[in-house]
Symmetry: C2
Amino acid sequence: MKRASIKDIARLANVSHSTVSRALRQSPLVNTETAEKIQRIATQSGYSPSAIARSLVNCRTNTIGVVVTNIADPFAAEVVSGIEEEANAHGYSVFLANSNANPQREVKVVQSFEERRVDGIVVMASRVGALYADMLSQIQIPIVLLNNQHPSEFGHSVRIANIDASRQAVRHLVQLGHERIGYIGDRSGHVSDSERFSGYRAALDEADIEFQPDLVVHGDGKPEGGLAAMERLLELSQPPTAVFCYNDMTAIGALKAIHAGGLRVPDDISIVGFDDLSLSEYTEPPLTTVHQPKHEMGRLAMQVLLELLTGADPEQNIRVPGELILRQSTAPRGEGKCDYSSVQKMEPAQKRRGSSFLTLKPRS
Amino acid sequence: MKRASIKDIARLANVSHSTVSRALRQSPLVNTETAEKIQRIATQSGYSPSAIARSLVNCRTNTIGVVVTNIADPFAAEVVSGIEEEANAHGYSVFLANSNANPQREVKVVQSFEERRVDGIVVMASRVGALYADMLSQIQIPIVLLNNQHPSEFGHSVRIANIDASRQAVRHLVQLGHERIGYIGDRSGHVSDSERFSGYRAALDEADIEFQPDLVVHGDGKPEGGLAAMERLLELSQPPTAVFCYNDMTAIGALKAIHAGGLRVPDDISIVGFDDLSLSEYTEPPLTTVHQPKHEMGRLAMQVLLELLTGADPEQNIRVPGELILRQSTAPRGEGKCDYSSVQKMEPAQKRRGSSFLTLKPRS
DNA sequence: ATCATTCTTGCACACGTGTTCACCCTTTTG
DNA sequence: CAAAAGGGTGAACACGTGTGCAAGAATGAT
C-alpha cells in the first residue's frame, strides 16, 4: 500500500488538494469546520507531509551538511554536538560525513551535499579552505569553516585563538621556573600546529629563553604519536623539564611514556595539553590544558550559518579565546630531584617495553 | 542568478530536457555526439543534479537517519563512524540527531526522519524499542536498533552479548582469587545494566561466592558517577578487592577515586571496565575491559539495513560477542598487602577532597 | 433588489527530474 | 521500390506540495 498524499486526503474529504494543503498548514483562508475534518482524516490515514516535495517548491531543505575529519575523534564529536543542538533548535536537520582528513574526499562530500541541496555547510578542520572560494562561484551555498587547517583566510570561519592560547600555556610553564620546555607537535602540517608552535616560540622569546630545536618533536595528534615523540625527548642527554603538547591526545600518550620511563608527572616533568577533552580531567594526573569551548564553537558556527541564511552579514573571521585550565600535571621545576643520567643508565626504552607495553590482547 | 536545471541546458543545446536527462545519466539511447555536447555544456554551466527532484520521482532518497543519545559520547561516536563508513560506501548519506536519552525526543526525531523520507533508520540505545512496532504499521521505513535499551525484543537489532561478556569479565576476577567483587552499575535503568548485572551474578554463582548486596552501587555511566560510587565502596568496613564497572567511563571515575584514596590499582584493588574505548589503553594503569567492536557493530547494523532495503530477510536479533582484553588494571588478590582499617583511619573522603579534587579551574 | 465585501474553494501552474509512448529519419531487408 | 527495422528525439505525464488568480457563495450595506 502506497503512502498517503494530500491528493488521497482530498479525495476522502471531497475537496481539492489545494484546500488540504492549506488546511494542514493552518492557513486562515480555509473554513474552520473543513479544516478540522481534513485534519482528522489526515491523522487517521497516518499522513506525513513530504519534506522532499516541499523542498522542491520552497527551494529550501532545512538541512545543513557537516564535514568532519572523523566523528570518532572526541574533539570533533563535541563540536558536532553543539552544531546539532543549535541546528535542531532552528528546525534544521544535519547531514554528517567523514572526510578522513583527505582533501579529495572532502571536496567529494561537499559536492554530494550540494546535490542534496543543503542550505548551508560547516566544515571542520578543512584541508581545502580557501579553495572553496572558487567553488563558491558555482555553489551558492554558504560555508562556514571551523578551525580551518588550510593557510589563508576564508569567507566565514570560527577558530580558536591558537597563538594567544598556546603562548599563555607556555608562559605558565615559564612562570613555574621551567627553562627547558619541549613541544610535541603534529607532523601532518596543520595550521593549528604551526600557530601553536608560534605561540610557544613567542612565550620563549618574551622570557629570553633560547629556542632549542632538539626540544621540538612531532607526533600525529593521537596518543600513539605522543607516546613515541615523548620517548624521543626522554632519550635526549638533557630532556626537557616541561612539555607543551599539540593536543590532549598527544599529552595522554606523553603521560604514558613518562610513566613507563619510571618518571613522575608533574614531579619530574610537567605536561600541558590543548583542547580540554572531557576525559582530560580524569587522566593521571589530571591534565593542565587549554580549554577550547568545543560545544560553544559548534553552536557559534551554526549561528553564523543561520545569519548567512537570513541574508545578514555576520562577522567574517571569528577568533574564540582559549583558556588555560590549571590541574595537576604542572608544577614548579624540581631542583635536581630527577637525576637524568641514572635514568639513562636504566635504558628506559627497554624497560618500558618490558613493563607497560606488554598488553595481553589475545585477538581472535 | 538561478541555479542551472536540465531545462536550461536543453535550451542551450537545442534539445529537449528529456534528451538532457538521458545524456547525463549515460543512457545508451542518446547519440554519442549530442551526449558529449550536452555534457560539455553541463559542466560549463556548473550544473549539479538535484537529488531532491530525483527523490521525488524515484521514491528513494539514498539517505538514512541515525539517532544517538549524544554524539559527544565516545561510544556512540565510534559506532556512528562505522555506520557512516558503510553507508557512504553504498552511496547513502546519513542524517544525525541526538535524542539526549529522552524518549519523546527520540520519537520526534524519528518522525522528522520520516518526513524527510529517509530510506532507513538506525537507533542507538533506544528508549522506545518495541514501541516502534506500532509506529511501523504507519511508517514503512525499516528500523534497526543497536544496543536497544528497552525491554522486549524488536524486529531487527544488533547488540552486544552483555551477559556472556560480563560473566567472562567477572570470571577473570574470580580466577585471580578475588572473592569480594563489587559492581558499579548505571542507575538510569538501562537494559544493558541489568544484563551486565546478571552476568556478574552468574559468575559469582558458578564460583559459589555469596552475593553481597552492599557491594553493588550505582553511577551514571559517566566518570563523575563512577567516582562517587567508588567512594561509597571504599567507605565500607570491608571494601571489595575487585570491582566490575558498567562501562569504561565509570571505571575511569573509579580509578580516580581509588588513587585519591591513596590506594593503588591493581595492587590494592582490581578494576574491569566495559566497552574498550580507544582511550582505555591510556588510562593509568591501562584498563582491563570488555571489548565491544563498536565500529564493526555500526557497520553491521548498516548492513542489516541495506539488506532490508533490497527486500532481503536478514537475521533478526544479532548478538555480537564481547571480548575480554587483559591489561594492567587487574592482578591476583593481594595477601594482606592492603590494610583497610588504616585507610579508614585516614578518613579517605576528606583526604581525597584535599588533594585530587582540587582542580583550579578559574572560569570567567 | 442591487451592489460591495468577505469568506471559501478550485483551477492551473510551478519546482526538477525520470520515463513511457509515439514519431521521424535513416538504414537494411525482402 | 516498398516494407521493416532500428536509432534518435520530443511531447506529455508523473512524483507531492505550495500558491496566485479567479470564481462562486454568503453576508452585509444601501
